[in-house]
Amino acid sequence: MSTIPATPSPATIPPVTGSPAPAGDGRRRRFTDRFTGGTNSRWFPYLLVLPLALILFGYVVQPMFATFAESVGVDAVANYTSFFTNSGVARSSLVTSLIISAASVLLCGIVGVAMAFLLKRFSFPGRRLIEAIILVPAALPPLIGAISFQLLYSETGILPRGLQQIFGTAEPVLPFSGIAGVLVVHTFTMYPFFYLSAAAALAGMDPSVEEAAYNLGAGRVRVWRTVLLPMLTPALVSASLLVFMTSLASYTAPLLFGVDQTMTMQIYINRTNGDLPMASTYASVLGVVSVLFLLGMRWYEGRRSYRSQSKGVAAHRREITNPLGRWLALGASLLATVVLLAPVATIALVAFSADGSWTTEVVPAAYTMQNFVTIFSDPNAFQPILNSLQMSLLATIGCIVIGVLIAYAVRRLDFRGRGVLDVAVMLAWALPGTVVAINLISAFSTGNAFSFGQVLIGTFWIMPLAYFVRFLPLVFRSSAATLAQIDPALEEAARNLGASWWRAFGSVTLRLMLPGVIAGGLLAFVHGVGEFVASVLIYTSQTAPISVEINNRMYSFEVGTAAAYGMLQVVLIFVVMVVSGRLETGRRASREAAQWTA
């Protein structure tokens, strides 16, 4: 045996170029070949991405610039310098917003982390019940949530008046008003950010790491300080950023507790006073701060990682054995249950109260079905429901189509500018609802290429457009999360068996993404139905959604009817949660997306 050439000679094969297009049904065949070949070409990602990029630019990015242009359009930078002058509303609003946000982070952090440790590390009676209902207050639409806390804890609220009656004092006991009221709402609705991330970090933590510390002689306090808390740090930092951002964007709580000097309230007040340039200035500042937070979060999430090394071992729970401790735990569990369910219970109770019947009593005095009868029989009262359903449905369809495609493009296609596309979607999420509304007002109060030359402000279409911009990230996140679970080899297998790109996408990838897409779509729909923050700035009398109607009824002291609308929304949310819960994989996706709702 002699040498073995490393490369056999290819001389035996006659060189042939060009693919052998089967002769026959000529033009059409060649056209479809070129078309399907198109999905395989280097340019295909760009063909798919270009319209998506245009949409994000047109409805998210470009309106931001329009707002900035609006803010400097009349007096150049004079509006901005008002943030630096010592006295003045602008400066104090900024400071108040920052203080409220910082305090919210602190309060939510304490409550959320304590809850996570108690529920994940200890075993006591009532634990499962609390785990089941712990997210209930946060699941309410922002307006309903804020109203329920007002009904519960403000000067005229159930708790202070109840305590007043019990103790026989002249004034309501422990009423929350102003900034304190805002902080109560924030704490109850935002601690889940801390709870969820701390609980996940605790669950993912390898117990042997902690055991190793004990084994090396560390006491319990030392283990917490030197092992547990440092390992929780990444989770806590992300949660802090999220709560800070969400508090900064919060609008309904300051509105209901009458804290006028916050950024969001100033946007609203200036807009309703007709000073759009000043409203735009506030919106620009708030927008820039939010974007900085978004970028900070992405940077931080990119570098953090304390992944647990071993897996499979569940973190151990300490059983509370001391009888006194058990009774205390039971009592605390009951109290927690009441506190967690109180907002929903209050809405349900008030929904059946006769309008005007609740004056100085602890709870409403007279009960009736009339509120619901009015809503469903009076066409004027029913119109807001129709409006909300219609506008939210339109927006949801848009969110699903565009959200799924962007998720696919960002996660599966390789093209330049992928990161930019990703950031652009999340930008829509990071921007407060008030800012989104001002952006759309600035961009579409005159005709614009993206509105096909039409003025959109004052029309029906601005509402679904605003919902689309606000809730696109929900569908994107849940689709992307589901997509991450699907092995790209599945689509390749379909391609290998002869499926065109469209067919492989439809019959395999999209089909498998469906639970996540549906979960995200339902979430977007529910949020659209409850949307208040942006709506209140752009609605017209014909397009008033449920939330605006609730707000108006509150102002005209028709609390019962307002709560009845709220109750209907709560029922819708409950139904949707049950449905999404049935979509096995959808559950994970929606949880992922829910973490991002603001």
């Binding site: 002699s2 042939v16 999905t39 395989n40 390749e492 290998n496 068996l497 790109w501």
Partner: protein, 357 residues
């Protein structure tokens, strides 16, 4: 007849100038042949296979099926059947639906499709499993569904990317026999990727050994084993000693080298060895071909045992010969041999072979 041709195929990922994942590869595969790409992880096997499947396009070079140039043809027009490393079965379809997927795309009639699916499932010993969900199957069964799905469309080329790597050792051996049987019955040209040299040797008609994106040698298992082209191939296929020995003279197919005991020996070499007097030749010899002896005669070098390991079938020794560690697999070592002993190693001339670096 030649079925698949890769002609100077290269693939670079990322920016131009980065090192190539696949570098100037020439391969021809005959119709019906079972051809294997063998090499360590990261050497470019998967990338090569995916270029044949059409999931990557080569940065340069051509790929031909028969006399058709398919270099830039999309994957769904190539008529290859691929078995993925993790099987890539569609989780939302039953076993039968998975297998029927390619037939549906080919618009095969319902009755015909049903018959062929049943036939394919029977072929992989899964008759009656058609209605099962994918997650109700064991790993080995999933592997066989993937094989059936690829075979049922009667592809012109079967592509397999480490299809056995997720199976346990016993199942791996059974399944490799099965794959080979089915492939022979169907007569489908197959391109198989593995990093397991034993698997490659047992299954293949021919093997291409790859290293760092390049093909180092192509040949039948025996050729590669007995006549490795490079020191990498010698060491990667089985175990091998590669000794650096001074060249005393060179012929067209032989090279004369000096052994550590100063004796001269003429060793077979490839025709393009390019070695001249004074150069250093790399000479490979397998541990099992080295004999132990106490006699001193030409061709016997002496060394000191530094490690000794009894494996049952043989005793593996590491012997220090003038500073070089030589592996020896002795079937019948002298009784009482222990670390530190001096002994003679017989290096048979006919078992030595000059390799390239």
């Amino acid at each position: 007849m030649i079925d698949v041709t890769l002609e100077s195929v290269s693939k670079r990922f990322g920016r131009a100038g980065d090192t190539a994942a696949v570098d100037d590869v020439d391969i021809t595969i005959a119709a019906g042949e079972f051809f294997t790409l063998l090499g360590p992880s990261g050497c470019g096997k998967t990338t090569t296979l995916r270029m044949v499947a059409g999931f990557y396009f080569p940065s340069s070079g051509r790929i031909r099926f028969g006399d058709q140039d398919v270099t830039r043809r999309p994957p769904n027009k190539r008529d290859t059947g691929m078995v993925f490393q993790n099987y890539a079965l569609f989780p939302h379809m039953s076993v039968a639906q998975n297998v029927a997927y390619g037939l549906k795309i080919r618009k095969v009639g319902r009755a015909e499709s049903k018959r062929r699916v049943e036939e394919a499932l029977a072929q992989v010993h899964l008759a009656g499993y058609g209605e099962r969900r994918i997650d109700q199957l064991s790993g080995g069964q999933q592997q066989r569904v993937a094989l059936a799905r690829a075979l049922v469309i009667r592809p012109r080329t079967l592509l397999l990317d480490e299809p056995l790597s997720n199976l346990d050792a016993k199942l791996r051996e059974e399944t490799r026999v099965e794959i080979r049987r089915i492939q022979r019955e169907a007569g489908t040209t197959s391109l198989y990727v593995t990093h397991d040299q034993a698997e490659a040797m047992a299954m293949s008609d021919r093997i291409a050994v790859m290293e760092s994106g390049r093909v180092r040698q192509i040949g039948a298992p025996q050729e590669i084993y007995h006549r490795p082209a490079t020191s990498f191939v010698a060491r990667f296929i089985g175990r091998s000693n590669v000794l650096s020995l001074p060249v005393l003279g060179a012929g067209p197919e032989t090279v004369t080298v000096r052994l550590p005991d100063d004796s001269q020996v003429s060793v077979a070499a490839p025709t393009d060895h390019g070695l001249g007097t004074g150069a250093t030749a790399l000479v490979s010899i397998r541990p099992e071909h080295i004999g132990l002896t106490s006699a001193t005669e030409p061709g016997v070098v002496t060394g000191r045992v530094t490690e000794l390991e009894f494996t049952g079938m043989s005793t593996n020794l590491l012997v220090d010969v003038a500073g070089e560690a030589v592996q020896v697999a002795a079937v019948d070592p002298p009784a009482g041999l222990s670390v530190g002993d001096q002994l003679g190693l017989r290096l048979p001339r006919e078992r030595m072979w000059v390799v390239r670096p």
